[in-house]
């Protein structure tokens, strides 16, 4: 997804880029509908999901507000309400709805929201690491060994139950670790929002921004790694 270019322009500018109604060619002042001919307007594919849903680029979003906005925009765009309209309007309604649904799904989940923001601000974050986070290296290696042992032993044997107990406690430990990472992420979210709210353009602010993004990327990637290990573990011990 090619969103890297959108962060330099402000949402307002992007809205303005589409300043003419596709139908009556009059100057656009309405947000989603032309005020003169009342035709639905295409939401630009270049718009990021925050702008699309009318939220600032923040990481703390009230889920109820987001849902309310989603329902409101669904009522505006859904193809059900364009059954009697022209083919052009039906096409716009379909692509607007699809975009809206993707935007909502992405912003609704705090982790996906943060990954998306990171993607917007600093490029892709989706690469899943192949090696464990440095501070977990030893533990993960040991865990892999235990898992291999567990897969090899006979079921319902005593060794099996010992290993199972061990894996169970490993699982608890990793899940705790995941929760810690999520708590750390939560703090970074707050810091990010505060920095954005201050809106400073100093070099200090820029350094702070870069630090938050870097740490966020690290935590997100570690969390994904740990989460995958845990689901692997759960699927093995059931």
């Amino acid at each position: 997804m090619d969103h890297q270019h959108t962060h330099s322009a402000s949402p307002r500018e992007l809205q303005m880029a589409r300043s003419m109604c596709w139908h009556c060619q009059s100057e656009m002042s309405g947000e989603y509908f032309c005020e003169r001919c009342v035709k639905v307007q295409p939401v630009s594919k270049e718009l990021d999901y925050f702008t699309c849903m009318g939220f600032p680029r923040r990481l703390t979003i009230d889920p109820r507000q987001l849902e309310t906005k989603f329902y409101e925009l669904s009522r505006a765009f859904h193809p059900d309400f364009f059954q009697n309209k022209s083919a052009e309007e039906q096409t716009i309604s379909l692509s607007n709805s699809a975009l809206l649904n993707t935007a909502y799904r992405t912003l609704r989940d705090p982790i996906e929201r943060a990954e998306y923001l990171l993607d917007l601000e600093a490029g892709s974050v989706k690469q899943i690491r192949n090696s464990p986070p440095a501070d977990l290296f030893e533990e993960i290696l040991e865990l892999q060994d235990t898992l291999n042992e567990y897969r090899a032993v006979e079921q319902t044997s005593e060794a099996e139950s010992t290993l199972r107990t061990k894996l169970q406690s490993e699982r608890n430990m990793l899940e705790q670790r995941q929760r810690n990472m999520e708590a750390a992420l939560q703090q970074l979210f707050v810091q990010w929002d505060a920095l954005q709210d201050r809106g400073e353009a100093t070099s200090q602010a820029r350094a702070e921004r870069d630090r938050i993004l870097k740490e966020m990327r690290e935590h997100l990637s570690n969390r994904t790694y740990v989460k995958n290990i845990v689901s692997d573990l759960v699927s093995t011990i059931g």
Partner: protein, 606 residues
């Protein structure tokens, strides 16, 4: 705008409904009954539909079609297992089932169209106007080809199908309108041939489906079969008579099984009776509700798995469900109600007639589309994940199951080999990790100029519209060349395949994960081998001969491990090789750095 009617095209019965002054009403026939049996018979005087056709089930079973919905959008191969149960003759032509009636053969959409026509005429007679537009319901778990087949049936019947909507969600519209419900509801829909469970959130007129699951091959028909099989077995034992040789009696026994089941929903015991052929007299069988329940227990249990999965996908527990709604005639069975009540921990709703509620909901949706109802909006989901096959036969999900529709998604793809002149796009549907375990929807090839591996950028866009119909667009981002295809599954996209895929996805999830890991490890190993060999060629002269030897040894070990079946061994040999090749990597880095600095003044460097 012309009036749009709502149609429930059911396995056993079909209904048509319309909206009058803000209330949905089913349209009765001349006999005052709202339900039209989904039965079509070929008589000497032509084709007949509904109640009169139902009488032919025992008279001319080989020329009377029932439960045709089970064959919509399927190939003959998909239904092999149950052909023995049907007295009419099925063949196949061009991947589509044909039903033989007299001299002619008919596709399932054609048979369904006859039922639709009957409903259309009924509506026209009742409303005194021509009806050309309809909303038709399908099981939520219906796949593309089944939805398409339903749409085709509408067209054949002379109806423009403005929307295909899911049965449980249609039911929720009828309930929502009636009760002004808010909160989270579960719709449990056990019909004649299919089972669906949908979890919805109702808020200020928005009906948002959170998750759906089901089994398109589980319904009242299957419950009846358990009873009919028991009767046939007992008759064989008691009278030495194999009823399978008597299609008319097989139909009679199927109908008696159904009636017995229905009676046992009210009574605790009943007697099934059947006149036997060849003057063997009359078979009578006392049956208690307990006996029926122990016969059908396993089938009822099978509906609970999809319920749990739907809850899980919605991120909910049974406690989060405010209300449970029962839909479909089979939910009249006390055992079904009891198990549903146990699972969700609340008494299920059944205020609205479970036979009519889907048609009523379809009428509400029809009213929304015609602009009559504006305060209600249904946001449904796609029941199965859609994806594309990537390197190594792995499916890459593009639109996950339970994504709100309309849904669009873009994925960027690139080439794997230098000079590759095309990219094959293989579109899949299902939940399994490997492409071969999922349903293949379509393939197409995008031509590209020959370029080094990884340079081309192919953007693939998937778009599912509000009917659940998929469109796919592939675009080369460098040339802007694009190719659009409509996914029209022309060959047997079977239900049983979908079910198997879903069931398998949970049964074999563990196998899949390891298979995927192996494929990924092999791909990574292949890439590492290629780059290391290249580095050896370019930088072999820069390092000591024992370093070269160590690298070659590690290289050979990885090449050997790559063909093995253990992804961990491959990863371990990769780590070994990276370690062994470190001097080479470092030497090459230094070399390029030195070359880069040559010819520059010292001041420019520092």
């Amino acid at each position: 705008m012309a009036r749009i009617v709502g149609i429930d095209l059911g396995t056993t019965n079909s209904l048509v409904a319309y909206m009058a002054d803000g209330h949905p009403l089913v349209i009765p026939g001349r006999n005052e009954r709202a339900m039209v049996p989904s039965v079509v018979a070929m008589t000497d005087n032509g084709l007949i539909v509904g109640d009169s056709a139902k009488e032919h089930l025992t008279r001319s079973p080989e020329r009377t079609v029932y439960s045709v919905k089970r064959f919509m959008g399927k190939s003959l191969e998909d239904v092999q297992g149950e052909l023995a149960y049907f007295p009419y003759h099925l063949t196949e032509q061009g991947g589509v089932i044909r039903i033989k009636l007299g001299e002619k053969t008919y596709s399932p959409p054609q048979i369904s169209a006859m039922i639709l026509k009957e409903l259309k005429q009924r509506a026209e007679a009742h409303l005194g106007e021509s009806i050309t537009k309809a909303v038709i319901t399908v099981p939520a778990y219906f796949n593309d080809s089944q939805r398409q087949a339903t749409k085709d049936a509408g067209m054949i019947a002379g109806l423009e199908v403005l929307r295909i909507i899911n049965e449980p969600t249609a039911a929720s519209l009828a309930y929502g309108l009636q009760q002004k419900t808010q909160g989270t509801i579960a719709v449990y829909d056990l019909g004649g041939g299919t089972f669906d469970i949908s979890i919805l959130k109702l808020k200020n007129g928005i009906f948002e489906v959170l998750a759906t699951n089901g089994d398109t091959h589980l319904g009242g028909d299957d419950l009846d079969r358990q009873l009919a099989d028991l009767f046939v077995k007992e008759i064989r034992e008691r009278y030495g008579l194999d009823l399978n040789a008597y299609p008319d009696h097989m139909q009679a026994i199927r109908l008696e099984a159904e009636r017995t089941k229905v009676r046992l929903s009210d009574a605790m015991k009943t007697t099934a009776t059947l006149d036997l052929p060849d003057g063997k007299g009359r078979y009578e069988r006392d049956l208690t509700r307990d006996q029926l329940e122990s016969l059908t227990m396993n089938l009822v249990e099978r509906t609970l798995g999809p319920c749990r999965l739907a809850l899980k996908d919605a991120g909910l527990t049974p406690n989060d469900i405010d209300e449970v709604v029962l839909v479909g005639g089979s939910t009249r069975m006390p055992l079904v109600r009891q198990r549903v009540q146990e699972l969700f921990g609340k008494i299920p709703h059944c205020e609205l007639n479970p036979d009519e509620v889907v048609a009523l909901g379809a009428a509400v949706q029809a009213d929304i589309l015609s602009g009559g109802t504006t305060d209600m909006l249904l946001l449904d989901v796609t029941p199965l994940s859609l994806g594309i096959e990537t390197m190594g036969g792995v499916m890459s999900s593009v639109i996950r199951r339970n994504t709100t529709i309309p849904a669009g998604a873009k994925e960027m793809f690139t080439t794997y080999v230098d000079g590759q002149t095309g990219v094959d796009i293989h579109i899949l549907q299902g939940e399994r990790e490997l492409a071969k375990d999922n349903r293949s929807l379509a393939r197409f090839r995008l031509k590209m100029p020959p370029l080094p591996a990884g340079v081309p950028r192919i953007e693939v866009t998937f778009l599912i519209d509000a009917n659940g119909i998929l469109n796919v667009l592939a675009k080369d981002m460098r040339t802007g060349q694009s190719q659009s295809i409509e996914v029209k599954p022309s060959y047997g996209l079977s239900d049983s395949e979908v079910e198997r895929m879903i069931e398998d996805s949970f049964k074999f999830a563990a196998d899949d994960v390891s298979a995927r890991k192996l494929i990924e490890a092999r791909l990574d190993a292949g890439a590492l081998i290629t780059t290391t060999e290249k580095s050896l060629l370019e930088g072999g002269h820069l390092i000591a001969s024992d370093n070269i030897a160590a690298t070659r040894t590690a290289l050979a070990a990885l090449t050997a491990a790559k063909d093995g079946a253990d992804p961990r061994a491959i990863r371990a040999r990769m780590a070994d090789l990276e370690q062994a090749a470190k001097p080479l990597t470092v030497a090459l880095l230094n070399d390029s750095l030195t070359k880069g600095l040559q010819g520059k003044k010292v001041s420019e460097v520092t």
